[in-house]
């Protein structure tokens, strides 16, 4: 076991540079350290100017997503020991504007998440006197997987379509829409379908499948999108054959 490992990190200081550069740091190698530990070691002991996002350090907040040796990963869940002997290249997530060093701008992602109306839509709200909504475990099972998303944006960083077509609404947003569509309490499927059938909605997806590969929570956004395509297509056929029947 070596005692140190090299970390090659992207640096981008907009006040002085017009392009990102790389800087290498030699950090202690510990068997139980993750990339985030190494980055924090750099910031605490070697170079306080390094900027990066992190929060829970246990894989539930979605803040620490970065590219490690070219693959989008949660740095709090990626062990240094998997990358021996190094050096390990740490870069900001692809396809998002880089604000500084390893920090990217999230505005586009946030805007897209909101666009799909990620809340229970009811034609008429149930009054309190009628009590709670009831759901069987099977009903929960239909959408549970898609509800596990932690908004870490690794899927957007892996999706080449999002890179080529920045207006593409993206895997997490569509999976989130599907999560609500499949919820038995929700009645907003038609409304969401209108939004997602637009030009930069779900039809841009060509099922590359990278989003599912990198998702740390096994949400399977690619599966959600393909299921949604089938639903949208069947809905289209129904609206063609029975124009008065669709709600």
């Amino acid at each position: 076991m070596p005692s140190t490992i090299a970390l090659t990190v992207t640096r981008y200081r907009p006040e002085g540079e017009s392009e990102p550069t790389f800087q290498t740091y030699e950090v202690p190698f510990r068997k139980d350290w993750v990339i985030l530990d190494a980055l924090n070691h750099v910031k605490d002991n070697l170079d306080g100017s390094l900027s990066f996002r992190w929060s829970c350090r246990m894989g539930v907040c979605g803040s620490c997503g970065m590219k490690v040796n070219g693959t989008p990963k949660l740095t709090c869940a990626t062990f240094l020991s998997d990358y021996l002997p190094g050096p390990i290249r740490v870069e900001p997530l692809d396809y998002f504007p880089v604000v500084r060093d390893l920090v990217v701008d999230l505005t586009d992602f946030m805007r897209k998440l909101k666009k799909v109306k990620p809340w229970i839509i009811r034609n008429e709200e149930k009054p309190l006197s009628e009590g709670e909504y009831l759901q069987t475990p099977d009903q929960v099972d239909t959408y549970k997987q898609f509800s596990m998303c932690i908004n870490c944006m690794l899927c957007y960083s892996a999706c080449p379509i999002y890179g080529l077509e920045p207006s593409f609404i993206g895997p997490a947003a569509i999976a989130l829409a599907q999560r609500y569509n499949m919820d038995s309490r929700d009645e907003g499927a038609t409304e969401r379908l209108k939004i997602l059938s637009e030009h930069d909605g779900l039809w841009q997806c060509t099922f590359v499948g990278e989003c599912t590969k990198v998702c740390p929570k096994h949400v399977d956004p690619a599966g959600a999108i393909q299921q949604y395509k089938l639903t949208a297509a069947t809905h289209w056929i129904k609206s063609l054959l029975l124009p008065w029947g669709t709600r």
């Binding site: 060509t206 297509a233 056929i237």
Partner: protein, 116 residues
Amino acid sequence: MMRRITPLLWLMFSAGGTVAALLFPVHLFLTGLAFPLGWLDAPSYESLHRLLMHPVTRLYLFVLVSLPLFHWAHRFRYTLYDGLQLKHLTELIAVLCYGAAVLGTAMTAYLLWTIP
């Protein structure tokens, strides 16, 4: 207009892909490899002609040729758009791809209709 029929194009892509996946391997193996290389005897003209007399065969052949062409059109259009980043030519590419598929389908339909 393209947007309104996107679901239809995707359905035809899926149908064509399924037809191609289920039926093309055996057809290609026989017609493209086994018969020319002599591993198996190619069917005679008379037997194929007899088969073609059945309307079921004609329907089968129509589906076998036309749906995969639409599968190609849809998939290839997106491959050019994304792979080569030809965004500025998107309408031209769409017209050429789907147009070619329509042409192939029309030719198939014409041949199958006018078999003596």
